[in-house]
């Protein structure tokens, strides 16, 4: 036993997603490839008095054939996105639940949890004066989505929720990677889920951080983000575990790096110093030279400050390669999923590695010449030789994460 080398690298064997394009990875993939944005008018709440009127709203769901389970009505919308995406990812991995007899953990992210339902509770309380249904508060907490996934899949290993604003999803993946490397788990269900609600919508609006048009990452004249919603879930396994059951990895989570700007509540460090540090740490962790990066899935919120600072970080960490490799932002397609953005963007990046193409970034106007990114436009860009991609998540509060994802074959 002692002589047997153990392979604790982490491979990805399943993907799940819910986005403004619909319930499921296929809807996301088709949408990413389409060159269209899913950001547009939305119905979730009355936004006539807000400054902007677009978001990436998930259509009604889940599909009727989805087995909802007896406690479905107690789940928040974010919980439902999470459970759907987790089951989808597990099915692709070929892992049948329940997982209680396996060394499995849940590593999840959220910014909103059941904030939407809490808003409805207090709106009814204040406006109608009557006692609203308690059920609106039954999954109010930020850990709701991760816990709902654990109950649904019967995961009895470590279950944790990370909430560090827009870095949360990537931090959850980093936590999953660490747990697999340490041998704490063999299977990690990692991801994040958030729902569109009025507190986040009005909050970012009040900060003037939201574009009136669907967001336009890295374009000249970009004027902010667009709020999205949904979930991204990845099933990670140790190589040993995946091999042992004959599973085919989709990709490897090869490394991650995290940092903090430690400077401002909302603005990024102007030269992207913190983001550059996260990138450098990720490259070290993945034993990767910067020239080994084949494409970039940027945080790319579409705010004037983020995109400029982020690209400065790419320049600092990748040198000339920063403007040579294709760069995309999933946020231009499905909006900003806040805490779970890093999770759905990791899903998009794995899809790109698997299909050997980088999805386009919708949005009008020319690419900002002051930045100089090689932004993928209109149609997917074929990257036949691509092996390795980096995905970044840069949060309000200054928390930064870079993930290195790679083909496994």
């Amino acid at each position: 036993m002692a002589s047997e080398a153990r392979d604790r690298r982490a491979v990805i064997t399943g993907l799940g997603a819910v986005s403004a394009f619909g319930w499921g990875v296929d809807a996301l993939r088709d949408g990413l490839r389409s060159g269209r944005t899913a950001i547009g008018p939305f119905q979730r709440f009355d936004h006539t008095r807000h400054r902007t009127h677009v978001a990436g709203e998930v259509p009604e769901g889940p599909p009727p054939d989805f087995a909802r389970g007896p406690r479905w009505r107690r789940l928040s919308l974010a919980d439902r996105f999470a459970v759907f995406a987790a089951r989808e990812a597990l099915a692709q991995a070929g892992l049948e639940g329940p997982l209680h007899e396996r060394a499995a953990g849940v590593f999840f992210a959220s910014s909103t949890g059941g904030m939407l339902e809490s808003e409805r509770y207090f709106t009814q309380l204040v406006r109608a004066g009557a006692r609203p249904p308690l059920g609106l508060m039954s999954s109010q907490q930020i850990n709701g989505p991760g816990d709902a996934v654990a109950r649904d899949l019967r995961v009895t290993g470590p279950v944790q929720t990370l909430s560090s604003a827009c870095a949360s999803g990537a931090l959850a993946l980093e936590a999953a990677l660490a747990a697999i490397r340490a041998g704490e788990v063999e299977i990690a269900v990692a991801g994040g889920s958030d729902s569109l609600c009025e507190i986040t919508y009005s909050g970012f609006n009040a900060l003037r951080a939201v574009d009136e048009a669907p967001c336009r990452p890295f374009r000249e004249g970009r004027a902010g983000m667009s709020i999205g919603e949904g979930a991204g879930v990845l099933v990670l396994e140790s190589v040993d575990h995946a091999r042992g059951r004959g599973a085919t990895p989709l990709a490897e989570l090869r490394g991650s790096g995290a940092s903090c700007d430690a400077s401002h509540m909302t603005a990024p460090h102007p030269e992207g110093a913190g983001a550059a540090l996260a990138l450098t740490r990720a490259f070290t962790d993945a034993h990767l030279e910067p020239d080994g990066v084949d494409f970039i899935n940027a945080h790319g919120t579409g705010t004037p400050l983020n995109d400029a600072a982020e690209f400065a970080a790419f320049r600092a960490a990748l040198g000339d390669r920063a403007s040579q490799v294709p760069l995309t932002s999933t946020k231009g397609v499905v909006g900003h999923l806040l805490g779970s953005s890093g999770a759905i963007e990791a899903v998009a990046t794995v899809i790109g590695l698997r299909d050997r193409e980088v999805h386009p970034t919708p949005g009008g106007g020319r690419v900002d010449p002051a930045i100089g990114a090689r932004l993928v436009l209109d149609v997917p860009e074929a990257v036949p030789d691509a092996r390795t991609a980096v995905s970044t998540s840069l949060a309000f509060g200054g928390s930064n994460v870079a993930l290195v994802l790679a083909r496994w074959d």
Binding site: P70, R73, R74, R131, P133, L134
Partner: protein, 96 residues
């Protein structure tokens, strides 16, 4: 209020209080379990019901009374409400 009257009244109260998809008073059987199997109510529903019952009938229900012997079925719940109403009647009469 007769026991039948209480049962009918309770079914309507459950429907309006819990707002369950597709649930009508006619679909609540007197002897079917309310929780778990049967109607499938849970502990949040129990909290909702206690508050609604207290308000509807002017009775008070202590935490230790929220158990299977009382909340097991519509019939047992109706019996409980009936006993409570009977207990409170003399006091109400005194008050008049």
């Amino acid at each position: 209020m007769s026991q039948n009257g209480i049962r009918t009244n309770l079914k309507q109260l459950i429907v309006t209080t819990l707002n369950l998809d597709g649930l009508t008073p006619e679909r609540i059987a007197d002897d079917e379990p309310l929780f778990g199997s049967g109607l499938g109510l849970d502990s949040v529903d129990a909290l909702e019901l206690v508050v609604a019952l207290e308000k509807e009938y002017g009775i008070s229900i202590a935490s230790h009374e929220v158990d299977r012997s009382v909340f097991g079925s519509l019939a047992s719940l109706a019996g409980f409400v009936e006993r409570r109403l009977a207990e409170s009647k003399p006091q109400a009469a005194d008050g008049q």
